[in-house]
């Protein structure tokens, strides 16, 4: 019983982390149609930067925010000066982001070496809380709480603010949005920065529990990909549901079928592709 409960708690925590990662991917890939193969690299580099800031003596949350800000700048520069010139050329965008993912991976390997680094959990979140005489590790709950808060924040921003309306208009009909005076390209840079920052933030949040190691980028990118294909491109609700689904599959799969856990992770995606190509909550096929 307690094993299953532990698994469930871990699943929800991983789900929260995956949402933070894939929300940005969903915005960049789903809304802007940019196949951003650097997204796993943003996660990994963000985590490494967080580790570096922690080593400088920064508080955990300050380190996470600083890493997110740094990644927003890096992402913004790549988008503004390179990806922007390739608007509409998918193949070129794929190659460019793939190229950068190799460069980032190798630079991380050079700077932080091949040994995994596991920063300590922030002191205020160590320990566990008892709910109905069951103990929950506090840090995992915090990840879920932050993921839910980010989900609500993004939903409010996209669906209920003027900025969100402008973004949706820019995605649906770029030329007309430009005609009515919306600076679409600036908005797109903003979304890209936001997605990169979210990925980096997720990286730092995940570091005390996944640890940071070379290859983390290649582990996370497919996860973001299946979450978004599963939930439907561009749908935040889809990303949220998909993240928790994958979180559960990952942990329970690993416990029950350790050999095939990784393959099981992809099964719902394959089913969705065959039966409902637009994804669970998507409106149009990717």
């Amino acid at each position: 019983m307690s094993l299953w409960l532990t698994l469930a708690v871990n699943s929800v925590a991983l789900g929260g982390l995956l949402f933070l990662l894939s929300a940005g991917f969903s915005l960049i890939f789903g809304l802007m149609r940019i196949p951003n193969l650097m997204h796993g690299s943003f996660f990994m580099l963000g985590a490494y930067l967080g580790v570096a800031f922690l080593a400088k003596g920064l508080n955990f949350w300050a380190a996470a925010l600083a890493s997110a800000a740094a990644m927003a700048v890096i992402g913004g520069v790549i988008e503004r000066f390179l990806l922007r010139r390739l608007a509409g050329q998918e193949l070129a965008q794929v190659l460019l982001t793939l190229g950068f993912s190799f460069v980032i991976a190798d630079i991380c390997l050079m700077v932080w070496t091949g040994d995994p680094i596991q920063p300590p959990t922030p002191p205020e979140l160590r320990g566990a809380v008892a709910v109905l005489s069951i103990f929950f590790p506090l840090y995992r709950l915090a990840i879920v709480a932050i993921a839910v808060a980010v989900a609500i924040g993004l939903w409010l921003m996209i669906d209920w603010t003027r900025l969100g309306a402008m973004i949706r208009a820019g995605v649906d009909d770029t030329p007309i949005a430009r005609v009515v005076g919306i600076k679409v390209s600036r908005l797109f840079t903003l979304i890209f920065c936001l997605g990169a920052a979210l990925a980096a933030f997720a990286g730092v949040m995940g570091a005390p529990y996944l640890s940071v190691y070379p290859g983390l980028d290649a582990d996370m990118l497919p996860l973001a990909l299946i979450v978004v294909i599963l939930g439907g491109t561009g749908s935040l609700l889809g990303a949220l549901v998909g993240s928790f689904l994958i979180g559960f599959l990952y942990n329970f799969g690993q416990a029950i079928f350790p050999d095939l856990a990784y393959v099981i992770l992809f099964l719902p995606m394959l089913l969705v592709l065959v039966l409902r190509p637009q994804g669970l909550f998507g409106r149009v096929a990717s």
Partner: protein, 332 residues
């Protein structure tokens, strides 16, 4: 551009050079590099069917390549004969390609690419994590190379010639494919899918068959690869392999016969040279990707032609300028 006679002569010269290569290269190390270039070229040609002619970019082809390698490797390690293992490997690769295609062709464009990436990752997961079948990270060792018609392929020269035969067959089949009505219809689905559909062509089926054709040659390349190395590990299935072969196709120039071959040669040679001096091959690979996209988006072969023409024109303009001045620039 050039007359067919000139082209035929060029092909003949290249063939003679390739046939006599072990004689003038001598050193087995370089003969082995030539073998590597040839089997990577077969793989790049296979991927080019999809990327260049069908306009479908796959990032999961390492999965197909490794599927053939693993099937053959596991069967050989289990003690079956070379012929059975190879036929089974090609069969399994074709079946995998069919499943791959059915899933990935639910979409085109970025969707296709992302799905192939995800499925390729599944195959990596099988190779890496299903340790009881694939021996996990330790990989599979082959007992040895085959000896077709009693000729042992154990030596570098013999293996080079075997690879060359397969390579020539692959190039010939690509040339036939490009000129065939089927090749034309594949290009049609790339350029004008809606119009092809309206003309009564089954666009999905054409793409599916193109995928199988590509999968077949990827499998053959995988077999060559596993026989060359006599070892296969999950490293081969990783995204990096798919990315490298895509770089070969793109850097040489898509939708050309020569492009993927030149691309394979460049990438293999660079990988060997760079790895000999520094251990930062990934960094170099990434920088090349970015540089190609920024400076030569159409590929090295067409890109060099363009830059060459630009340079030639600039030089001629400079040569012509003084002459025009002498004439008082009354020209035209």
């Amino acid at each position: 551009m050039s007359s067919p006679g000139l082209r035929r002569a060029a092909v003949a010269v290249v063939l003679v050079l390739l046939l006599t290569l072990p004689a003038w290269v001598g050193n087995p190390y370089y003969i082995n590099i030539a073998s590597q270039i040839l089997h990577w070229a077969v793989f790049a040609l296979a991927l080019n069917v999809l990327v260049g002619y069908a306009g479908l970019v796959s990032l999961g082809h390492a999965g197909l390549f490794a599927m053939a390698g693993y099937t053959a490797g596991l069967l050989l390690a289990a003690g079956s004969g070379h012929f059975t293992a190879d036929v089974a490997a090609v069969g399994v690769t074709l079946a995998t390609s069919a499943v791959f295609a059915v899933l990935a062709l639910r979409s085109t464009g970025i969707g296709f690419l992302m799905i192939t990436l995800a499925i390729g990752q599944i195959l990596w997961g099988v190779a890496y994590r299903w340790a009881s079948l694939t021996n996990g990270d330790n990989g599979v060792n082959l007992p040895g190379r085959p000896a077709p018609f009693g000729i042992s392929l154990a030596g570098a020269d013999a293996f080079y010639y075997a690879t060359l035969v397969v390579f020539v067959l692959a190039v010939a089949s690509m040339a036939v494919f490009v000129r065939s009505p089927f090749g034309a219809s594949v290009r049609g689905t790339r350029d004008q899918a809606a119009r092809m559909n309206a003309l009564g062509y089954n666009v999905w089926l054409i793409r599916f068959l193109a995928f199988l054709f590509s999968g077949f040659w990827s499998g053959i390349a995988g077999l060559l690869f596993v026989y060359y190395n006599q070892f296969i590990s999950p490293q081969v299935v990783a995204l990096q392999t798919s990315a490298e072969v895509l770089l070969m196709v793109i850097s040489g120039g898509t939708a050309t016969l020569l492009g993927p071959i030149v691309g394979a040669a460049i990438v293999v040679i660079m990988k060997n040279v760079v790895s000999a001096y520094i251990e930062r091959w990934n960094l170099v690979l990434g920088v090349i990707f970015v540089a190609i996209i920024v400076f030569m988006p159409e590929g090295l072969v067409p890109g060099s032609v363009r830059l060459w023409r630009l340079g030639w024109r600039a030089m001629r303009a400079r040569l012509a300028a003084p002459a025009r001045e002498m004439l008082g620039d009354r020209g035209r």
